[in-house]
Symmetry: C2
Subunit: 372 residues, 2 copies
């Protein structure tokens, strides 16, 4: 296996040799990150940017054509909100969400380890993504999803041939069921929330901002956060770009949660939160009551000078329709939550007028229950 | 307006000044094409390819980030069929189908003419595409769709805010209703099947094959054809590339129709066909009983040395699942028809073993009724 990186605990910094079955620190149970050996990467030049990845060469990359999504200028909404609003449309990935970036690297690494069968839990997007890539890679996948997941996402998981385990109870119960199943059947638990490989894949979103926006590099990035795999991945990419001197300033990184499920926002504002307070939300992609990377998310927000906010269910639906009707973009509710939050943060002054604000279209509206 | 192109009848070659309301030859009723003035285009160089378009500059392009879709190598299916099989994944367009390429140019030109309200008819993909681009462009759209169109496509048309006219009867009846409505209300009939602008947009698919496949330029291209807007657009692009000496040989261009709706294949094989023979097909995108560009499609097939074939309903579903389960690609039934046809043509020898065959994923399976 590769020797150019290690696993490192995100909390106590204990280091480990990479392993597909290791997803938490054996000492403090915190999630793990990938740490590259110093001086291994130089950043390449402007024409061939070198992205640090847990792969030895491009030929090890297992891809279905993910990434290289367009960034579009939302001119009508920019005028409305008095900012320069950009959307990077991640619904234009192979399975219709940004998860394909993380899945590509996760599956690439699992193939290197010779893994043939995996277990994963998901509200739907990661599940369908892992189901698709596993099918193409010849890996048998067991996907645990909440029984309340939207029918199009469930169909998508099944159409790729994964075994679908419909699971009652909260999103956290689904995780618990998946972990138990993996232990019982001695299978790899390929959690997109915990595997350190997944975040290495979402980094490409951050790298692409360099070529996407050229003269209007965002001053602010607003991301809907459940577990934070995109939020943390983009932050990691931006810090790498700074270390290569390809950008000089870290954009302010803000995050949005649903009012119905707000463990991280509650922690930021020292508000009471526990799992029993979870309510149903349309934004299924961020309905995570106990996010394992909570501390990492808050750290990114603080280091980048960002803020956070929460949004109500009707704001989510309003913004989903607003974007479709004024910008021609049909996003999933999870993504609409970020736009609703952006609007709130501009009104409250958390984001300054005139800023260049980038928000991801995290997934396609076609994958969720129709709002009309 | 521009003076670097004219409209030209695809049959009698009568020329006309461009107009948004002119969609058929006033003499022989045949569809119109765009004809660029000689020597206007040189093809640019390898780094900045110049595509002839009915626009005066890049700034006139109205885009939601369409195109630049990935071409992926279907290694598992290649081994099965004994060819080098490539798929260009058009589901990775803003509204989930290749139609966005045509719509982008059509709407760009309608904006130049100052058009504010349009009528269109569609089995769903073009309707949702035109609904999205119209919303962003501030154009009011009336979309006529068959009442049997898949629910996700109807939702998508409506979510962008277009007025949806659910229409009973055959696909051709839907066209008739749309045309009557446009005449009655004195609106522009922005038909993706008839407007000469639409095909200019689908050309970009053909141009991208140059950079997509580099060392494996396809010897054969197989496209599902209803009206042929992609088939004709790709052919036009390839002939332009030949005129610029950027490719030396035209790939063989094959087309596939559903056995249930086969007006063009019937014409090729001198079989009886009339509109009353139309049967229900899952491949809604090619369910066109009286295609206005029938002669153009047959001409492309003959000039390129291509062939055609038809496929049964069960072959369509089998290939939709086959691609999902072996390649991780969830395509719409219309696209699956092309893969089913490709398989047949390889078995019958119409396509030679060892060929490099490119097939488009014309749209996302998420937009259609689920096969599971």
């Amino acid at each position: 296996m590769s020797n150019h990186y290690k696993f490192e605990c995100s909390s106590c910094e204990t280091e480990y040799s990479p392993s597909p079955s290791l997803i938490e620190c054996e000492i403090c149970d915190s999630p793990l990150n990938i740490k590259y050996l110093p001086t291994h990467y130089s950043g390449g030049d402007n024409t061939s940017l070198e992205i640090p990845l847990p792969l030895n060469s491009q030929s090890e990359l297992f891809s279905l054509g993910e990434g290289n999504t367009p960034t579009v200028n939302l001119t009508n909404t920019s005028a409305l909100l008095d900012v320069n609003l950009l959307a990077k449309n991640e619904s234009q990935n192979p399975t219709g969400s940004f998860k394909d970036r993380g899945t590509s690297i996760l599956i690439s690494c699992l193939l290197k380890f010779g893994i043939k069968e995996i277990v994963e839990d998901s509200s739907g997007n990661a599940g369908s993504s892992i189901s698709a890539y596993s099918a193409a890679a010849g890996i048998k996948a067991h996907i645990f999803a909440p029984e309340t997941a939207p029918p199009p996402k469930i169909s998508q998981i099944k159409v790729y041939g994964a075994t679908h385990h419909s699971t009652p109870g909260s999103r956290d119960k689904v995780t618990e069921s998946a972990r138990k199943y993996a232990v019982k059947h001695n299978l790899i638990y390929a959690s997109h929330n915990l595997s350190p490989y997944f975040i290495e894949g979402t980094k490409s979103f951050g790298y692409e901002l360099l070529s996407d926006t050229s003269h209007t590099f965002p001053t602010d990035i607003v991301i809907p956060v459940g577990n934070g795999s995109l939020y943390i991945g983009v932050y990691k990419a931006l810090t790498e770009l700074i270390s290569y001197k390809l950008i000089t300033q870290l954009p302010r990184m803000h995050f949005i949660q649903a009012e119905s499920v707000k463990p991280i926002a509650s922690a930021v504002y020292n508000q009471k939160w526990n799992n029993k307070m979870v309510l149903q939300t349309k934004a299924g992609g961020i309905a995570v009551g106990s996010p394992p990377r909570l501390n990492q998310v808050i750290n990114v927000m603080k280091v980048s000078g960002g803020e956070c906010d929460t949004v109500h269910e009707e704001e989510i639906t309003n913004w989903q329709l607003e974007l479709a009707r004024t910008e021609g973009i049909y996003c999933e509710p999870t993504s609409a939550a970020a736009f609703a939050g952006t609007s709130k943060m501009i009104k409250s002054g958390k984001i300054r007028k005139g800023s260049t604000v980038l928000v991801p279209i995290t997934g396609s509206g076609l994958k969720d229950t129709s709002p009309v």
